[in-house]
């Protein structure tokens, strides 16, 4: 009696598989059919014709905790902090009022994992690289980032004036950041860098003197020295890769037609000088760090 039930079970499995597969297909075709309303590019970016996760609302994703100076008080929806301000500026350009913007908590990993997304775009200090662009779509860059080195005041590496002097330092970085690549390709330290899950873990290790220095993007470096680690200083800044500047981009599900509309909004913000204004409002301190060569 067990055998027929097994066959029945596998039969049910086939049915289930067959039932699952097309379900997603129909939903995509249905929503695809709904989206092309206007033919001109301007019309396609009209608020009503945008294909959004939640109709009528712009859903923006970011990780939690959301760190300063990118966000303030771990609350992306207050419009404060650089990325929150940029996100709201983009939304406004696209015709969304402040209460038509909703925020979703999206861990970094799930922002680029395959599968349906719960955000229209994700803003999380994500650097644009060609290999990443194979998995997701990026907007234009909205911020050109440099890397900053932070060490405890009075320690051996705090007085370094060149990258060569940092070669023997034990350096900590946060996983998933381009800082690790920057450390490896630019500083080329003699010891393996330490890689931490969270920025605060790296900061803790620095406080505990388990590492000599941390490398983070420059605005974060200013936040670390100002608010997170007493008696720390920025040793200096450097370019992540010698060739092209590293830029943060808004992240989209691969193939999302929204990209061009957001790019258009970003372009307008840049040419009107608004983007520079937002940057100077939230990231001004970035100007004073000495260059490390």
């Amino acid at each position: 009696m067990r055998r027929p039930s097994l066959l029945l079970a596998s039969g049910a499995l086939v049915l289930a598989a067959a039932a699952c597969a097309p379900a997603d297909d129909t939903s995509t075709t249905a929503s695809a059919a709904a989206s092309p309303v206007g033919s001109a590019a301007a019309d396609a970016c009209a608020k009503e014709s945008l294909k959004l996760i939640t109709p009528g609302k712009l859903t923006i994703g970011t990780d939690k905790p959301a760190y300063e100076p990118w966000f303030k008080d771990d609350n992306p929806s207050n419009g404060q902090g650089f990325e929150s301000a940029v996100a709201y500026a983009v939304a406004e350009k696209m015709g969304f009022t402040k209460d038509e913007v909703t925020w979703a908590v999206v861990p970094f990993d799930s922002s680029f994992a395959p599968g349906p997304k719960q955000f229209d775009f994700d803003v999380n200090q994500i650097s644009i690289t060609p290999s990443r662009a194979k998995a997701v779509d990026f907007s234009q860059g909205y911020y050109t980032v440099k890397q900053g080195v932070v060490a405890l005041d009075g320690t051996k590496f705090a007085s370094a004036t060149s990258l060569a002097e940092l070669k023997d330092a034990k350096i900590g970085v946060q996983a998933g950041t381009t800082a690790l690549e920057a450390v490896r390709s630019v500083i080329q330290p003699s010891k393996d860098p330490s890689v931490f899950n969270q920025q605060v873990d790296a900061v803790n290790a620095l406080k505990n003197k388990q590492i000599d220095a941390i490398v983070v993007d420059l605005p974060t470096a200013f936040y670390v020295t100002a608010a997170q680690v007493e008696g720390s200083k920025i040793v200096g800044q450097f370019d992540a890769n010698a060739g092209e500047p590293e830029e943060f981009g808004l992240l989209f599900q691969k193939g999302n037609p929204l990209v061009s509309c957001v790019d258009k909004a970003l372009g307008e913000l840049r040419s009107s000088g608004e983007l520079a204004q937002i940057e100077s409002q939230w990231l001004t301190a970035a100007a004073g760090a000495p260059e490390l060569k």
Partner: protein, 341 residues
């Protein structure tokens, strides 16, 4: 099929007895064979035939009764049927899974992000390098874990009232450290001990990670040892004590040797578990296999490196699991005196 046939013939009988883990159909047919003897039309000398080795001088005349032949054919048929049903249902399930997964709309993306050969090759050297660190960590940790676990188990077994504080300490230790999730313990030890800024306290993340693993697994292993010690029959202690052995001598020469032998399979089980949990030390910063895989994943937004790490862990744990099975089987064989009881 051949096994079923072999089991029926006296020539192959001793061979089959040597591998009791053989296929159950074969065992069934052998049983049927023996049961057949008394009721069958065969000569009484047949009953002895399977026991006697074929090389003996007076080779017994073996003539299978027609009934026996029918029975064997029936058993063979049944075995064939069950094998073909199993094969068919396996094929159906596998095909359903493969078709179901590959025809899903997201499959091309999944294949690209989880099963990319380029990403696999790119990540392999780094992940492998990280994996060496995992191996180092669990090999070092295991030594301390066994010592600590045995110590705690023995302390818990001390009878004298003088040792009450020690016993209480052992109980508290197992309760506390078995209760804390290993990853939490790694965090607490890894960031807590250096924060104390004590002179001479370790600050190297690998050392701290190993300390945390030893504390966590020591508690599990202590309980395994205690179970082993308690499984030794009280009569063994009584006998040893009546031979004028002290408590300590009884423990050392009588109880522990038996206890340890009994708990080797569960110990190896914990060892396999430890191998995997070395990946948790990644939170402290060292570049072990999981972290190396994560770095590659974050670089290209491709999850294939995780598959690389997973495969490496499997490659290590599967032989361990088989070795555990082998030891368990050997222990079972020894306890039954080599027979098939």
């Amino acid at each position: 099929m051949t096994e079923g046939e072999a089991a029926g013939s006296p020539v192959a009988e001793p061979e089959a007895a040597e591998s009791p883990a053989g296929n159950p159909e074969a065992a069934g047919s052998r049983e049927g064979d023996l049961r057949a003897e008394p009721g069958g039309t065969s000569l009484p000398s047949e009953a002895a035939a399977p026991v006697g080795s074929p090389g003996r001088g007076e080779s017994p005349v073996w003539v299978k009764s027609e009934r026996q032949l029918r029975r064997e054919a029936e058993l063979r048929g049944r075995a064939r049927r069950s094998v073909s049903v199993a094969t068919a249902s396996t094929i159906v399930v596998v095909v359903a899974l493969v078709v179901g997964i590959t025809s899903s709309p997201g499959w091309p993306r999944v294949r690209e992000t989880f099963l990319s050969p380029e990403a696999f090759v790119a990540a392999l050297p780094d992940v492998l390098r990280g994996f060496v660190l995992n191996i180092e960590m669990f090999l070092i940790a295991e030594v301390f874990i066994l010592v600590l676990g045995l110590l705690v188990a023995v302390v818990r077994g001390l009878r004298s009232p003088v040792f009450f504080p020690l016993r209480a300490l052992a109980v508290i230790y197992t309760d506390v450290f078995r209760g804390i999730p290993t990853i939490l313990l790694i965090y607490l030890v890894g960031f807590g001990i250096p924060a104390l800024a004590l002179q001479g306290a370790p600050s190297d993340p690998v050392t701290l990670g190993i300390i945390a693993l030893v504390l966590s697994y020591g508690a599990y292993v202590a309980e395994v040892f205690r179970a082993g010690i308690e499984s030794v029959h009280p009569s063994q202690r009584a006998a040893a004590r009546s031979l004028a052995l002290t408590q300590g001598q009884t423990m050392r020469h009588v109880v522990l040797p038996q206890a340890v032998r009994r708990v080797i399979p569960p110990l190896l089980n914990d060892f396999v578990s430890l191998q995997k949990d070395t990946a948790l030390v990644s939170v402290l910063g060292p570049l072990e296999a999981l972290r190396q895989a994560q770095i590659h994943k974050d670089l290209d937004f491709n999850f294939t490196p995780y598959l690389v790490a997973a495969l490496l862990f499997i490659l290590l744990t599967v032989p361990m699991a088989r070795f555990t099975d082998h030891l368990a089987a050997r222990a079972a064989r020894r306890q039954t005196g080599g027979g098939t009881a």
